[in-house]
Amino acid sequence: MESNRIDQLLVKYLDAETTLKEEALLQDYFQNSNVAPHLEEYRALFGYFAESKTERYTKAIQLNTEQKNLKWLSVAASVVLLFSVYTGYQNNQERKEAQIAFKSTQKAFQLLSKNMNKGTAAMAYLGAYETTTNKIFKQPVK
């Protein structure tokens, strides 16, 4: 294309009066290697536009599904946590009760054995009484 025509288009371009088609012509011209030397600045400008167009959004668009899953996951997790805390508490309570019961039985057994010891001590006197009576009274001869 003649550089004369390009000059005209550029004037229109700077006044924002070019159509999209005319801008496409300019774009084409400056993508070429034969750019008139006095238009060198424009090459950078149109080069920038061309490069900008190549930039892409590469990530996948995620709609709400994943967030919903996360929500449910957290609900489930909190339910599990509550349940385990509750059963743990229950277990602990049971163990405490058992310990109390164990202690009171121990006490009861101790009491019993103490009294039993008293009884056997009294029996020892009884034994002594019997030997003395044997000494005093003659035993019938067999």
Partner: protein
């Protein structure tokens, strides 16, 4: 509307939404988040969408509003994204622009334009929308769009000539 129907409808302009939000938010990550967020919003409003004549223009308007909100909340929380010291890394475009100095200069010049001019030049020269569509997206009259666009183009041209002459001297 099923998910696949919705995706078929929005897929054609997902890159445009992404590039538009990147032009406003500068950072690639921010722009990716904005794009994702925007499509989620559209999906939630899918019943309303079907009544719109031009879904794409509606999506671009939403993108603009969403990005403005993001920028505002950043300023409010004093975590403003400082355009001048924000360095992009790792995207293919930036790697390319680093190789090509003059193109990256244009990139910087456009980043310095006022927000409205930046949006308009993006929508016209990169995305190739009609003036009427741009007016609809940004809630402006066509004449206002043309005036802003002309200003933006002339500013960039003058800056480029300045840089060019500076290079020669």
């Amino acid at each position: 509307m099923t998910q696949s129907e919705f995706l078929n409808m929005v897929m054609p302009f997902k890159d445009k939404v992404f590039r538009f939000s990147k032009r406003l938010l500068v950072s690639t990550e921010e722009a990716e988040d904005a794009t994702q967020e925007l499509f989620l919003k559209l999906w939630k409003n899918r019943e309303k969408i079907s009544s719109y004549k031009n879904v794409e223009a509606f999506a671009m308007t939403m993108t603009k509003n969403y990005c403005f909100d993001r920028l505002k909340s950043k300023q409010a929380s004093n975590l403003s994204l400082v355009h001048s010291n924000y360095k992009e890394t790792g995207t293919s475009l930036d790697k390319k622009t680093n190789l090509n100095d003059s193109v990256s200069i244009v990139h910087q010049l456009i980043a310095k334009l006022p927000e409205q001019q930046r949006m308009i030049i993006q929508l016209r020269d990169v995305e190739q929308y009609e003036y009427e569509e741009i007016g609809e997206m940004l809630d402006l009259k066509q004449t206002a769009v043309r005036v802003a666009l002309s200003r933006a183009r002339k500013t960039i041209k003058q800056q480029l000539i300045k840089q060019h002459n500076y290079g020669i001297k």
